[in-house]
Each structure stands twice: as C-alpha cells, then as structure tokens.
C-alpha cells in the first residue's frame, strides 16, 4: 500500500508530446480568433450572445463554472489547514495548481468578454467602486485572490525547482522560502476568505436576474448554494486529476487519502443537496420540481448526477478506482450543470430568445481550457506537484541524476545545520 509522503514530479516522460502540439495548435487558432474579436466586437459571427442573452459561454462557463472546478485550493485547503485534516496536505499542491490555472484562464476570459476592458482601471480606485454590485466584488476579490494568495501559494514548488536546478540562485530561493513560511498563515487566511466571498458573489450575480431565473434556482440563498457547490467541485477536480495521473503516468494512489477525499465529497454533496431541497421547500416551490417540464427534468438531472455519484462513492464499490473516477466525473458534471443553470439552462430571457454559442465563441472557450491543461501538463512534469512516496522520490532522483549530472535531489541538509 502506497503512502503519500511528498510531491514528486512526473519523470521519464517527454514534455513535448503529440498532445502538447495538438493543444498548441488549438491555442494558436483560438488566440487569432481572440484578436479578431477585439477588433470586430462581439458580433454575430463571433458570439451567439444577443441583448436578451447578454452573457455567453465565456462568462457563464469559463468563469462561473470552471472557477467552481478550480475551487480545490480553497475547499481542500480549508479542510487541511483550518480544520487540521492532515491527510489532505499531500494533495494540496494539485489543488493549488488547478485553482491557479482555472482562475487565471477565467480572468483572461472575463477580460476578453467585456466590451470596454480599458475602463477596468477604475478597479484600483476603491472610492470609484459601486459596493452594491456583485460583479464588482467578483472583479476585485477574484483578481486579488488570483494575483496574491493563490499566486504565492503556488510558489514553493517553483522555489524548489530553482534550488535543485539552479544552484547559483539557491540561497535567494531559500530566503524567499523561509520568508514565505513566516507569513504563510496570513496568506492562506486570505486564500480562503476571498474565494468564499467571490464564489458566493457568483451566485449573487444571478439574484439580480430576478424572475428570469427559474424559481427552482432563483433564491436569496443562491450565493450560499453556489459556494457550496464550488466546494465539492473542487474535491471532484482534485480527485480526477490524481486518478488521471494514475492512468496516464501510473502514479500510485494512496487509498487512505483517496478515502478521505471521497468522504468529504460525499458529505459536501449530501449536505448541499439537503440544503437545496430545504430551500426549495421553505420557499414553497417544491411542486415546480414536478410540474415544469424541461426545468423539472433539468433539476432532477442535476440532483441524480450529484446525489447518485455521492451515494456510489459512499459504498464499497466506490473504492474501486474506475468506479471512483466515474463517480467523481459524473458528480462534477452534475455540479457544473448546476452552476451553469441560473445563467443559461434555467434562464428564460424573453419569449423566443435563444442562445447557442457561435463556433468562434466555442473555440475561444476551449482555447482557454486548453491553456490551463497545457500549463498543468508542463507543471506536473517540471515541478513537484503530484503526490507520491519517498520511495518514488528516490527513484525519480536516481533517474534525474543519471541524465543531468551535477544535480542533487537527495541527502539534503539545510544551510544552518
């Protein structure tokens, strides 16, 4: 049985694979389209957005759905550091990396989506803020989160890389590391409060949508239900990344940590579902879950996917890695549909109004996902991100030392000892 003791880079596989070039090609096309969008505007050929459906995929999917998936850094982190769940430290780096990539690509999409981005500079002048706008809160907290705490949290693997690979810079990197260790609790405090605020504001956005959002979704509690969904989506994402690493690079899995991830996912989904039902029942809208045709079906699809997967994860069967993978995947799909519903699937703009993304819109949407995937693939091969055992580290060290003479990855003694 493997025990995860430290993060170990993926070694012995090339970075520049065929998949890498395929992603690059997609990204190149997408960036050209993005450039064209900046000049031509959001016209019909580029986006499917219209006045009644003013928000399309870029905001509703890349920002509102995918940052939910990128909430691992916050959801796993809070359990590990604030609630002292020691088992989860081993997966923190995966969580932080996925969060960082999801947030930064999301922020890029936000910048590309808005029509007059040059006016964003008001954001640095707090007295110009309209504090009542949920979107302002998102713009401020999300960019602050991504550029300060989340960014800093992702630095330690990079410092380590410098320490091992560039001995000249070692002392500087070590100094940075020790400074970081001193202020770390203050950073991570920020790294949890900010996402709580903006992930819930993402829900608050659609509260202003009023009756256009179907009553099964529209509630004053939308912010709470939204951030709650982000929490389990974060767990789904981390678990899926780890299982994919097992599939792709035969990385061993620590059953104890996996069981812990499953357990937390299960309880988050259970409590989320219970709260959601409670909210609907208290508002007296439960009948709508049966009478509103498409909307009722959508509601049950979300519920079945999340609740069903959580149930499977809680049984013996859920321990089998393939079942675990499928369950987390379906759960994530359910949660993502939920986060997508208030803005799009359960949003009735106007009679006859219809939204379907234009091809270019879709490609740009995928491009920014591809950038995140690419970043992830490079990072896990260069940096110590994915969890492994000390033994794995030794094997990796032996391999690396054999191909890169002069590098030393074991037998570390701190400078002051």
């Amino acid at each position: 049985m493997t025990r995860w003791e430290r993060s170990v880079p993926v070694y012995g596989v090339p970075v520049l694979t065929r998949g890498f070039w395929a992603l690059c090609a997609l990204i190149a096309v997408g960036l050209v389209l993005t450039g064209y969008r900046e000049v031509a505007g959001l016209t019909a050929g580029i986006s499917g957005m219209t006045d009644p459906f003013a928000w399309g995929l870029w905001k509703t999917f890349n920002v509102m759905v995918l940052t939910g998936l990128g909430s691992g850094g916050f959801a796993v982190g809070i359990a590990a550091w604030v609630f002292n769940n020691k088992k989860l430290h081993s997966v923190m780096r995966v969580a932080l990396l996925t969060s960082c990539l999801a947030y930064w690509t999301g922020l890029c999409m936000l910048g590309i989506d808005v029509g007059r981005p040059w006016n964003f500079y008001w954001v640095v002048l707090p007295w110009q803020w309209n504090l009542h706008s949920p979107l302002l809160e998102i713009a401020v907290c999300m960019s602050l989160y991504a550029s300060v705490p989340l960014f800093l949290e992702n630095l330690p693997p990079i410092f380590e890389y410098i320490i091992y690979e560039f001995p000249k810079w070692r002392s500087i990197a070590e100094t940075c590391e020790s400074v970081m260790a001193k202020v770390y609790p203050f950073i991570i405090g920020l790294a949890y409060i900010l996402p709580m605020m903006h992930q819930s504001s993402l829900g608050a956005l659609m509260v202003l949508g009023g009756k256009r959002v179907h009553t099964l979704w529209q509630t004053p509690c939308l912010p709470l239900i939204y951030v709650w969904a982000a929490a389990y989506l974060g767990y789904n994402c981390v678990t899926l990344c780890i299982l994919l690493a097992k599939l792709a690079w035969k990385r061993d899995v620590d059953p104890v940590v996996m069981a812990e991830l499953n357990k937390l996912t299960v309880w988050l989904v259970y409590s989320w579902t219970a709260f959601r039902f409670l909210d609907i029942i208290v508002r007296g809208k439960f009948l709508h879950a049966f009478t509103d045709g498409y909307f009722s079906i959508l509601f049950w699809v979300e519920t079945a996917l999340t609740l069903g997967s959580a149930y499977v994860l809680s049984t013996e069967k859920g321990k089998k890695l393939s079942t675990m993978f499928n369950a987390h995947l379906l759960c994530a799909v359910g949660g993502m549909i939920y986060r997508f519903s208030p803005t799009t699937l359960a949003f009735s703009a106007k009679e006859n109004a219809f939204y379907f993304p234009a091809a270019a819109e879709l490609i740009v949407c995928l491009t920014f996902i591809a950038i995140a995937v690419l970043g992830y693939l490079v990072a896990v091969k260069k940096l110590a991100i994915l969890p492994g055992s000390n033994e794995d580290w030794m094997k990796m060290a032996k391999y690396e030392e054999s191909i890169k003479p002069g590098i030393q990855l074991t037998g570390y003694a701190p400078a002051d000892h």
């Binding site: 006045d51 604030v82 009542h132 202003l208 912010p223 000390n390 580290w393």
Partner: protein, 324 residues
C-alpha cells in the same frame, strides 16, 4: 464505507462548516438581520431621495396610442441615431430595442385576433434601478435632481450585467465594433441639454394623440389616477403600472389589456436591488469577513506550526528536503 456516527459527524463538520461559514458571510443571517435593518433599502439606493416633485418621467396611455410610430422617428432624430430599417430597407421596424433604437412601438394581438393594443417600450427610469445596482463603477447613473437614468461611457467596462439586471430588458449593447456602447432612453437628456429650446423629449413632443406625455412623476401619477378614477374598469385592474412595480418607476403606464401582454411583466413590488439586501448586510463594515479571516489565520497558524515541526522531523529521518 463503514463509519460510526461520531466519525460521520466529524467529517460532516470538517467538510461542511467552512462552506457554511462562507454562507454566513455571503448570504445572510435572515431573521436577525432582517429585524436589525429594515430600511436598508434607503441606503441601497440613495437615489430614493430624488424628490418626487422633481423626478421626471413619462405617462404612456396605451388606449390613446394609434401606432403611428411618429415617436420612434422623432426619438431617432433627437438622439441622432440612424433609423433601423434593416427589416425591409424602408420601414423603421426593428423587432426589439437595440443599439439604434431607444424607443419602440409594438403591437399586441390576442391569439384569436379579436383584441389588440399598441404599446411603447423605452427605459422605465426606475426609482431604484436594477441596472445601476449591477454596474461596477457607475457606468449607469441617476441624475440627482431629475432621477433620469443615463449611461456614462468612461465608467462602463461593457460587462452587460445591466442587461441581466434590468427587469424590463431595456439596455441594449452595441454588438459590433471594438468600442461598444450601452444604448437606452435617457429621457432625451442630451438633446435637451444641447438645445435649450427643446423643452420636452422627442416622443412626447410629436405624439399626435398625447398618448405619451412628459412631466414630473408626481403630476403624471396624479393624472394617471384621475384617468383611472374617471373610467373605472377601463384600465386593466384599475392599476397604474409603475406606481409600485419594481419599487416604482418614473415612467408610468396605463393599458386596457393585461400589462404582462404589453411587455410589462409582473415583477413584484420590491425593487431589484432590494433582493440583494441580505447579502449586503453580511458585508456590513466588513465585520464578518474580518472575524472569519482572524479565526482562520489563528487556526491555520497553530496547525502550520505543528506541520512545520513534523516536516523537520521527517527530514531528519529521510534526508529529503521538506516541502511546504
């Protein structure tokens, strides 16, 4: 997965509490908060203070409108907008408000064709506007004296949140070009400022039947009520739309057919911004977020110290560099 009840509770607490706590920050602590602050609405929107006697608006009486569309033509002329004749190249007949069209006359016809009514669409100039509440930096603002809601380009980032938050689907976005604008009726604010000889908006000036008239909200409301009182049963539910709807609007409507049929949905009496009032309370003075931050830092510091200690111990055993 076998677990005892105590374990189950512990897991639940570990997983759920943080999220719950987040919810307290973000959503609301309903009852206590409600009791604490019933006039939050006031501060949500200081523009409520616009004096009724100075707040300007329109009164549109659909029963008087003959559908001549003169107001559409005049509106384009006053606001220097190119008439939208994209339908057939001749008629100014856009299917909906758009970035060439601040004012639109449409026809409602019942399914069996026996009943019909013209209706006019333009900004309602809400007393507590959803669009303004949504806007990040104040790209939409309300004139402090007249209460007219207008768009101010230098503060607009083009996020289109105003389009989501306006219950009447009014703001239109310019989908073409690299420098888009939000276009909506501004009660002819700019044309009247530019040319002081213009004493009223284009649409009211030109209307041949006085179906749409201009004035202060106070006068218009009184006039509307007079018409309702003079002919009970003539107007739908004897109601002046906009008196209370969406927190009250400065543009008022009278109609014989149902208001929902002429593009004025039942949006309730609460203003759109007031639906967020509990969320705002959670942020009041930033007390809750700061408290939560402090607690988390305290707990994390303690756990972090233990963790670092553990890392050092481990390194002594393995000789491998500790990882944060």
């Amino acid at each position: 997965m076998a677990m005892t009840r105590r374990e189950a509770f512990k897991t639940l607490a570990k997983g759920t509490l943080p999220v719950l706590a987040a919810g307290c920050v973000s959503t609301a602590l309903p009852t206590a908060a409600r009791a604490a602050d019933d006039n939050e609405l006031e501060s949500n929107s200081k523009y409520r203070k616009v004096d009724e006697a100075h707040a300007l608006g329109l009164l549109y009486d659909a029963t008087k409108c003959v559908g001549c569309k003169s107001c559409m033509v005049k509106c384009s002329e006053y606001n220097e907008l190119k008439p939208d004749t994209r339908v057939d190249g001749i008629h100014q007949a856009p299917p909906s408000l758009n970035y060439f069209t601040k004012n639109l006359i449409k026809l409602y016809r019942s399914d069996d064709g026996s009943d019909h009514s013209y209706f006019k669409q333009q900004c309602m100039h809400c007393i507590d506007p959803g669009c303004m509440n949504a806007c990040m930096f104040g790209g939409l603002r309300k004139d402090e004296e007249t209460g007219v809601v207008w768009w101010y380009g230098p503060k607009c980032v083009g996020c289109r949140y105003c389009q989501i938050a306006c219950p009447f689907h009014i703001p239109a976005f310019q989908w073409d070009g690299f420098n888009p604008k939000i276009v909506k009726c501004e009660l002819c604010r700019t044309p009247m400022q530019k040319d002081p000889s213009k004493k009223e908006p284009g649409c009211t000036k030109v209307c041949p039947t006085n179906a749409v008239i201009y004035g202060t909200r106070k006068d218009l409301l009184a006039e509307a009520k007079r018409r309702v009182a003079a002919a009970p049963g003539k107007y739908y539910q004897d109601k002046v739309y906009g008196e209370h709807d969406a927190g009250g609007t400065q543009v008022l409507y009278l109609s014989r057919v149902g208001y929902d049929k002429i593009g004025l949905p039942d949006v309730g009496e609460a203003s759109i911004p007031s639906t967020l009032k509990y969320s705002h309370m959670a942020y009041k003075w930033m007390v809750l977020p700061l408290l939560l931050y402090g607690t988390m830092v305290a707990l994390a510091s303690k756990n972090f110290a233990h963790h670092s200690h553990h890392l050092v111990e481990e390194q002594k055993e393995t000789g491998l560099r500790p990882q944060l």
